[in-house]
């Protein structure tokens, strides 16, 4: 089953782009995190990007760093994250679920073992923030063996050589970086990124989702107008969690409203 291909086909029929929220598993705790993830799906998220908390997230700004710290304060483990995903997968058999994490979490479990566990849990894709194409081979092999898509990043400064490799190896979707720097809603993405998107098309890369600095429905619309297959929003989603740590119900309601508004902006034309 290729849940990404199915999702993009469904959305094409509806003339829509994808909206994909990101949250950190275990933020603010495992129980509420599961409720949050279900709420995102119920409110219209087309797919999910889920983080596994890590102590030294060099590609993340303050918002996602704080989410990691909250999750790690309860000693959230990879096993905890995988069992949560298993439960979500059982409840929602068709929603693509991607993992976004750092290489040392994979190395600590052993590459093949990590991908096997992820596959058993029902994970569709894995993006490792600190594994560039040049180091990707062992991870790609493990992904392929388990039918998982290894997600590649297209940065705004990508060379032609990088673009060619993305064209050759990308599966699932391509993570299109809206700008340089680290994750965060403080600095807006440069949309439209139409030139990068055109280059990806030219190299026949997997459909691109624009991330980094996406926090408003206008940016989602602009990304899709520029030719992206959808948009990913992490820090803006996590900010809602951070702002409502003392009120779980309000947190869920605001997340629901946010996802609905972002999803509404994915209608084309």
């Amino acid at each position: 089953m290729d849940r990404y291909a199915d999702m993009f086909a469904r959305l094409d029929e509806k003339n829509q782009g994808a909206f994909v929220p990101f949250v950190m598993i275990g933020d603010p705790n495992l129980e509420q995190s599961e409720a949050i993830i279900c709420q995102l799906i119920e409110s219209g998220a087309d797919a999910l990007e889920l983080g596994i908390p890590y102590s030294d997230p060099i590609a993340d700004g303050p918002t996602i760093q704080a989410a990691s710290i909250r999750a790690l304060s309860h000693k959230t483990t990879v096993a905890d994250c995988m069992s949560l995903i298993t439960r979500v997968r059982t409840k929602y058999p068709h929603v693509p679920i991607g993992l976004l994490l750092y290489s040392n979490l994979v190395m600590a479990k052993g590459i093949e073992n990590f991908y096997a566990t992820a596959s058993d849990a029902g994970v569709d894709s894995i993006l490792i923030a600190d594994v560039p194409l040049r180091e990707a081979t062992p991870f790609q092999k493990a992904a392929q063996a388990k039918g998982i898509s290894q997600i590649l990043i297209a940065p705004p400064n990508a060379t032609d050589e990088t673009m060619e490799k993305i064209g050759e190896f990308s599966t699932g979707y391509t993570y299109l970086l809206g700008r340089a720097g680290v994750t965060g809603a403080e600095t807006a993405a440069n949309v439209p990124a139409s030139e990068l998107i055109a280059r990806l098309h030219q190299h026949k890369a997997a459909p691109s989702l624009l991330g980094f600095g996406i926090s408003t429905p206008e940016q989602v619309k602009a990304a899709i107008d520029a030719g992206a297959a959808g948009a990913i929003s992490g820090s803006a989603t996590v900010n809602i969690i951070a702002a409502n740590l003392d009120d779980n119900d309000s947190m869920l309601k605001q997340l629901g409203d946010f996802v609905s508004a972002m999803k509404a902006a994915t209608n084309k034309g």
């Binding site: 060099i58 590609a59 710290i69 040392n104 979490l105 190395m107 600190d130 560039p132 990088t162």
Partner: protein
Amino acid sequence: MNQLETKFGEFGGMYVPELLIPALDQLEKAFLDAKDDPSFNEEFLSLLKDYAGRPTAMTLTRNLVSNPKVKLYLKREDLLHGGAHKTNQVLGQALLTKRMGKKEVIAETGAGQHGVATALACALLGLKARIYMGAKDVERQAPNVFRMRLMGAEVIPVNAGSGTLKDAVNEAMRDWSANYDTAHYLLGTAAGPHPFPTIVREYHRMIGEETRAQIMEKEGRLPDAVVACVGGGSNAIGMFADFIDEPSVRLVGVEPAGKGVHTKEHGATIVAGTKGILHGAYTYIMQDQEGQIEESYSVSAGLDYPAVGPQHAYLADIGRAEYVAATDEEALNAFKLLARKEGIIPALESSHALAHALNMADEAEDDTIIVVNLSGRGDKDLAHVINILGDDI
């Protein structure tokens, strides 16, 4: 693609976001171009000689060693401008920064020594430096913060994570991810992603080259062992590099055992750590079973880092170099002893190397020549040592 080998055996590599790959490639290219450019080498050598004070002396200790079969020499990097070996490679990378047409420098610092070296090189060469330093370290190392500011650098306290060196490195890498077009990341040790471990080694290798020439002149033969402390491992790799192909010379790296390698409070990554990825390289690191990075500890801030340069990991695995650990207490004893017996106050980092060399000297049965890389001077450590030892000297 890379022009140089990016790994040492299985260690090293470039585990960084895709976004940083072009900046690392640009750096590799600038380094290789500069290597073959006589005007670059001339300027680097002239700065090392006329500004920093190279070559540094090599001193035969007079009173330190009681075993008559042993001659123990000190390679005097403590006499270098800035007070430690760090000035060598900082001058090299600062020149590379200018060569790449960049006017800003990002750096991290733990105790402040690399920050001070970066600040002085940037003051000299007209570069703008911003230096990330853990908030806890900013408090603990006030004189070095003042030194950096005095020389015109901006010091940015890092509150994220544990507020120490590893978090300062994280923050420097984040800054670089946003500003690679205008800024160079001047990494302070022989760790991190390729090409840093290679560049830092090459810009410190004169330590070993001078040692070879000096010992040949004084003794007419190579030393039996060279000994250096290892945190990230820059002074050690600088000392080792010229001797790697001399099998008769033992290469000995001394890691910080802190309160003991069997406690959680140490920084001995090769002796007691496990393989993993931190700050762009696959190497020995301190981590839990989940792969979360653990805090290191050492009385010496310059050795307090939970990873190690990947070439050291490789030299350990192939058995070419030996790595051992010295505790806080052993280092402090060596610190006192060198002051008392030779009139030299060593850095606490270098005191670890000295502590182990003294054990080697005690055990030697044949005629033995040992060279310790005295990587820095201890003035920066006085306030800290006064707190620990008080009147107990």
